[in-house]
Subunit: 364 residues, 2 copies
């Protein structure tokens, strides 16, 4: 017995007014007399009427919806971005259609098109690595997109990035300052923008001191990564420091070093890019580059809504590169200490991008 939903017509009938009057009452788009308003209000209450946003979207120009595509929600970095975007959207009265691409170009493409069909007013995405994203230029020719964490080509697309290269350079410089010159790099797939850009910064720092790059450990899986680290430790010229280029590789690294009972930082020093949960309570605490994760998502969302409102936004694309922080803790060889509170950032050095935009291998 699937009864029909109550509509604005039902309300109008019960209140003894026209549909338009009800609509006006709901949207406040024009004045309704005190008396009529009362009648309509009562009718709405009695019928438990809820306006149909679908019909509203169809009629109007605005679905009040944005799409969000992230690779995963399992990674705290992505989850935090998604949270920030969701929060901004809520404040703006927009709903979020969220999906995960699983770092798979086909899924991403399919989901992006689906969002288009759902008439989203804009899209915030972390584009899948190694995809050319030609389709977005075609399909989203009239709908703004903001990418974050990774650049995205397109005439009216904005990107929010961080000082990957400068940050990596700074932390590796710091390791060099501690006397290290054979520093291993833990990375993932080379097609990942962040890894690649950070690798460049790592090379910058070494080159600046006249050293060659150390070994590049491609951490496809935890097992593979552990094996690579172990073989490095047993080589004739073992690295004296490891630089993990993101939170995942840091986890692999620590896992392996703890399991092998390698003393940090006595035998090998450790530093990473991307702060990880527990980095401050690890033993020793971990020196990292911290990204302003929440702000990245927040800024991306704000840029999108600026485009959506169509205000005074130039037709040129924006690329914002945010500074990062070097958080000096114990694993690099610095004197370790424990934070007194969550907001105590240890020794923190702000790293600004050298240049805007970064002179980095980019996809466009």
């Amino acid at each position: 017995m699937e009864q029909r939903k109550t509509t604005i017509a039902d309300v109008a009938r019960l209140a003894g007014v026209g549909k338009m009057t009800v609509s006006r009452f709901l949207n406040g788009s024009a004045k309704v007399s005190e008396e009529t308003a009362e009648k309509v209000h009562r009718a709405i209450k009695n019928l438990h009427y809820q306006p149909n946003e679908i019909a509203r979207s169809l009629r109007g120009l605005n679905s009040k919806t944005i799409g969000v595509i992230v690779p995963y929600l399992l990674d705290p970095f992505f989850a935090t971005c998604a949270h920030a975007i969701s929060t901004v959207a809520k404040e703006q009265g927009y709903s979020v259609i969220l999906t995960t691409s699983d770092e798979n170009p086909e899924i991403e493409h399919k989901q992006a098109i689906l969002m288009l069909r759902r008439q989203v007013n804009g899209l915030v995405m972390i584009p899948v690595a190694g995809n050319d994203h030609l389709y977005v230029g075609e399909a989203f020719s009239h709908i703004p997109i903001v990418s974050l964490d990774r650049p995205l080509a397109g005439p009216h697309f904005d990107s929010v990035l961080v000082a990957n290269r400068a940050g990596a350079k700074a932390v590796v410089e710091h390791l060099i300052g501690h006397g290290h010159r054979n520093i291993a790099f833990l990375g993932l797939n080379r097609s990942l923008y962040a890894v690649n850009t950070r690798y460049a910064g790592y090379c910058d720092a070494l080159a600046q001191s006249g050293y060659p790059p150390g070994p590049y450990l491609d951490c496809i899986s935890q097992e593979k990564c552990a094996a690579l680290i172990r073989s490095q430790l047993q080589s004739s010229q073992p690295p004296t420091a490891f630089f993990a280029s993101n939170n995942l590789t840091m986890r692999y690294l620590l896992h392996t070093l703890y399991a092998e009972r390698v003393a940090i930082p006595r035998r090998v020093a450790v530093a990473g890019f991307d702060d990880i949960e527990m980095a401050d309570v690890a033993h020793p605490s971990i020196t990292v580059i911290r990204q302003p994760v929440y702000q990245i998502g927040e800024l991306a969302a704000n840029l999108l809504f600026k485009r959506i409102s169509g205000a005074d936004v130039a037709e040129t694309r924006n690329r914002v590169v945010l500074p990062v922080e070097l958080i000096l803790r114990g694993s690099c060889g610095c004197k370790a200490r424990f934070a007194k509170s969550a907001s105590d950032n240890f020794t923190s050095i702000v790293i600004n991008p050298e240049t805007l935009p970064e002179q980095m291998p980019m996809l466009d």
Copy 2:
């Protein structure tokens, strides 16, 4: 120059056929001749036509959309659930409208109603603590809801929970087995279902051995929590073990103990509910109850789609209580060792809920 979007009528005109033929071609709802299909296909390609899902939803009975409400995405537990739900929805061809309630009843209410207005076919939610949720019974009288992590009252609502009480009891029993009898409990707001239920299990275990409950530390903030722990340590009868009832309190606990240089497990033993990232590489590794987080989300989504498909689901409500695992690592006093790989679960004991449903303070 905002050109009108191309519609099914444009396609029909260009292909020289009726709208219905195009619709049939798109949906495969009826046969279309080879020749016509070809014409329509070409027209769609030429015009870059994309069907309007909004219009489709308005006409049909099905928006192919579900709503998801979680308190935060910053907590890995919630993020993992959201990821699982998103994945299932994707497989089912559904889109997800996701929002965060920020553990705020008013936001939750508002967002739930908004989803209703957007004609979602179902809702998966982690209900805000301490809210009676009377409104969902009214508003969602014809739309299925599945709650997870926390129970939700309602005639056609399902819930997915875990063996909170039995799990907490098991891990506290284990601590007692190590000789502890003064065990402090780290909790959050008492209105949180999980905390409350786990506290009951903690009391069960102590009572079973004839011991009174230890101090309840209400960890409102990291600072507050640290202060409470410190004062406990300095009391005349300091606890010899700490039980952290969720991942957040565990983080606070470890942070404080490390900062205070308290030897684990020599001076105090530690165990928790909810596995945390890095628990296996912490120093020592942390004994916890692990919840099947991803499966919770997955199961919740599957239950929802069973309701949506309206198949052979009885009108009675389901309450599923999943088993948890006791992962014995070093912090409880057991002989520590390191996992060889991500899938190596150390010593793991499956804890089944004693009874179904749990005999716990529930909201209905």
